[in-house]
């Protein structure tokens, strides 16, 4: 068993898939050279465009667009075992075809879990991302997802707001996705200095009024709310940033449903 190291890029990982195909059972862990890690002996695999292209072609044309998309999604995951899961699943799919995904063993389930989490979070942020209007009329959204979902959500917003100029900033990874009337680009940005338009706070406070009035106060269920809208997303949501604590809600006559209180 060896620790297979690569440069962290998608091309690098695809090269590694190519180079380890004949020694698949020996692949113990997969990660970047910087992470280094375990007690296993390290072997470095150098990224090679020709090899990477062969694997990518194989994914697209032999295993199908859905399979290829799953691999890309899994690559954006933050789970510790993601790279190993990707390498193993492609090796086995080369023998068994895309039906390999129907097996119920640990490697397959790990791969499926990786891509599922990423796609789920991408879908979640299609809803939970919030734009603010800037002084120049453009839109800015800031978020901090657990997985690197920015590349997956950009096309959705490009389709939705085609005539605007907007930026989505992942503050955890310091990556910005920029859109200007048709073209998508990505950039590393260490810091942003937003200047809001004059009416921005007014719209946000109207939104908070709507959000507050919509709740049926005889049926409060904060646990359910938080299950759908986990706390790590609150910081960038105008309606949750100024959330009232539960005690003050009860004091105002709201009926808070609490499992523990009976």
């Amino acid at each position: 068993m060896i620790y297979c190291a690569f440069d962290g890029s998608f091309e690098g990982l695809m090269t590694l898939v190519f180079d380890t195909y004949r020694i698949s059972p020996e692949v113990g862990e997969v990660g970047t050279a910087a992470e280094g890690s375990s007690l296993l002996p390290v072997r470095v695999f150098v990224s090679d465009d020709a090899k990477a292209r062969r694997i990518k072609n194989y994914l697209e044309h032999q295993l199908g667009a859905e399979f290829a998309f799953m691999v890309k999604a899994a690559f954006l995951s933050s789970r510790p075992g993601r790279f190993r899961a990707i390498v193993k699943i492609i090796h086995r799919a080369c023998q068994l075809g895309p039906e390999v995904l129907s097996l119920l063993d640990e490697d397959t389930l790990a791969f499926l879990a990786c891509q599922r989490e990423v796609r789920r979070e991408a879908h979640r942020f299609q809803g939970l991302l919030r734009f603010s209007e800037m002084a120049d009329g453009s839109l800015l959204a800031v978020f901090a997802p657990r997985h690197h979902v920015l590349p997956l959500i950009m096309p959705h917003f490009a389709d939705r707001f085609p005539g605007e100029e907007w930026v989505i900033y992942d503050e955890a990874r310091q990556v910005a996705g920029l859109y200007d009337r048709g073209s998508l680009t990505f950039a590393q940005v260490a810091e942003i200095n937003p200047r809001e338009s004059a009416s921005e706070q007014e719209v946000q406070s109207l939104w908070r009024v709507f959000f507050r009035e919509l709740a049926i106060k005889q049926r409060l269920n904060p646990a359910l709310q938080q299950q759908h809208m986990p706390k790590y997303t609150w910081k960038n949501l105008p309606e949750m940033r100024e959330m009232m604590p539960l005690e003050s809600l009860s004091a105002k006559g709201y009926d808070v449903f609490d499992h523990k209180r009976r």
């Binding site: 734009f131 406070s205 109207l206 939104w207 709507f210 359910l224 759908h228 809600l249």
Partner: protein, 410 residues
């Protein structure tokens, strides 16, 4: 009155309408326009009661000429009244939509002056959004019961979804609680939408596709427990609406007696609404008929979900072998859903499924174990007595157990 006050009053007045879905339409963005729609719908937030916020849900006005016994906005109630202008609603929709706070607009209204006059205002809002603002996101509008067919048609070309509320399962309840509405008026509007949709079904091989008319279909809402209608009435009516009106979705809402002093309130237990929803899912996704779900009973069993109730009543069909049982029967096993059944079918094409592997298909084994076997093995020590299975499963439903013991204690 400023916009913030209006928004507060007309959101508060709209919140009991339970529909929130933005699903059923799939329309890409257009150049020069704002917005698109996603087939599966998107939730943008969740209120403190745990409900999804997808659409800007508002009443256009809460000034009403009707006097329905169950409704907070009835004529004889002393509540603050407000009305938007079409421009105000359009402005709010666009401002929220651009910030990705909503998928679109869900506009309903009290009946001001007459059904047709009210419908004209709603249509005006939709026209401003679609034509002036080039808004391409989701619009769901209520049809005011009894509005003329011509107006319903005009509305249908502007919106994604239209809905007329049936309000109550039986005519008796409707005439008692909503004396100004009639079943003929309500179903007349539904039929008008259904028939127009059928008329416009794209005729293959002939010219361009017809313009979209209510592309996301119709939905409706029924109140549970306001008078003496039982679950058989409710599920029977829902089944007829799905089959005869082509309804996409029926929503249910436990009755909240907003017009009675709190001492007299007999709120419908939320558990009943929950069971009705579970039965509705069984009809829509699991191939059950209303009659099968209820058997001989007038009301659903509150102690267990209706799928368990059916499986226990039909215990002679079980256990099913997951390696050979047909899909339709697997779907009827408590603890298995469409997704886990798909995984079982895919996995068993490659190899026989062992009992140990079953849990990895997403099956909820704590329920399914009473009803399945794998490779001749039963995951659970054989229980041949359906009564015991019933008791074991009823004990698992903690929330139902809590609510029931609470009801008994009162």
């Amino acid at each position: 009155m400023d916009l913030e006050q209006k928004l507060a009053i007309l959101t508060d007045a709209a919140k009991y309408d339970v529909s929130c879905a933005s699903s059923g339409s799939s329309r890409p963005g257009v150049k020069g326009g704002v917005g698109n729609t996603a087939a599966g719908g998107i939730c943008h937030s969740w209120t403190a009661d745990g409900r999804c916020v997808s659409l800007l849900k508002l009443l256009y006005t809460n000034v009403c000429c009707y006097d329905c016994a169950y409704c907070v906005n009835r004529r004889s109630n002393d509540v603050p009244r407000a009305s938007f202008t079409p421009d105000e609603v359009a402005r709010l929709t666009i401002d929220f939509y651009r910030r990705n706070m909503i998928e679109g607009l869900f506009l309903s209204s009290a009946v001001a002056i007459s059904p047709d006059r009210t419908m004209e205002r709603l249509i005006r809002v939709a026209e401003i959004l679609r034509q002036r603002e080039r808004f391409n996101g989701y619009i769901h509008m209520k049809v005011i019961p009894g509005a003329s067919a011509a107006l319903v048609q005009r509305l249908g070309y502007l919106v994604d979804r239209a809905s007329v509320n049936v309000e109550f399962a039986t005519d008796r309840e409707l005439s008692l609680l909503a004396p100004d509405k009639t079943r003929r008026g309500i179903e007349g509007n539904m039929l008008a939408i259904r028939d127009k949709k059928l008329e416009l079904l794209p005729t293959l091989y002939h010219g361009a596709a017809p313009p979209a008319f209510v592309p996301a279909g119709q939905s409706t809402q029924m109140i549970v427990g306001a008078a003496d209608g039982n679950d058989r009435d409710i599920l029977g009516r829902a089944e007829a609406l799905y089959q005869q009106m082509g309804m996409k979705r029926v929503y249910y809402s436990a009755y909240v007696p907003v017009n009675l002093p709190s001492s007299q309130q007999a709120r419908t237990p939320l558990l009943r609404e929950h069971r009705v929803y579970q039965a509705d899912w069984l009809m829509r996704f699991y191939g059950f008929r209303a009659g099968e779900i209820l058997g001989e009973r007038p009301n659903l069993d509150l102690a267990v979900d209706p799928k368990i109730a059916w499986a226990v009543a039909n215990y002679r069909l079980f256990p099913l072998d997951v390696n050979t049982a047909p899909k339709e029967l697997l779907l009827r096993v408590p603890g298995l859903g469409p997704r886990s059944v798909e995984r079982i079918l895919a996995a068993r094409r490659l190899a026989r499924i062992s009992y140990e592997a079953l849990g990895k298909t997403g099956a909820v084994m704590r329920r399914a174990r009473y009803f399945i076997s794998a490779q001749g093995r039963r995951p659970y020590p054989l229980v041949d007595d359906p009564e015991r299975v019933y008791r074991a499963l009823a004990g698992q439903d903690k929330e139902a157990h809590q609510q029931l013991s609470f009801l008994e204690a009162v």
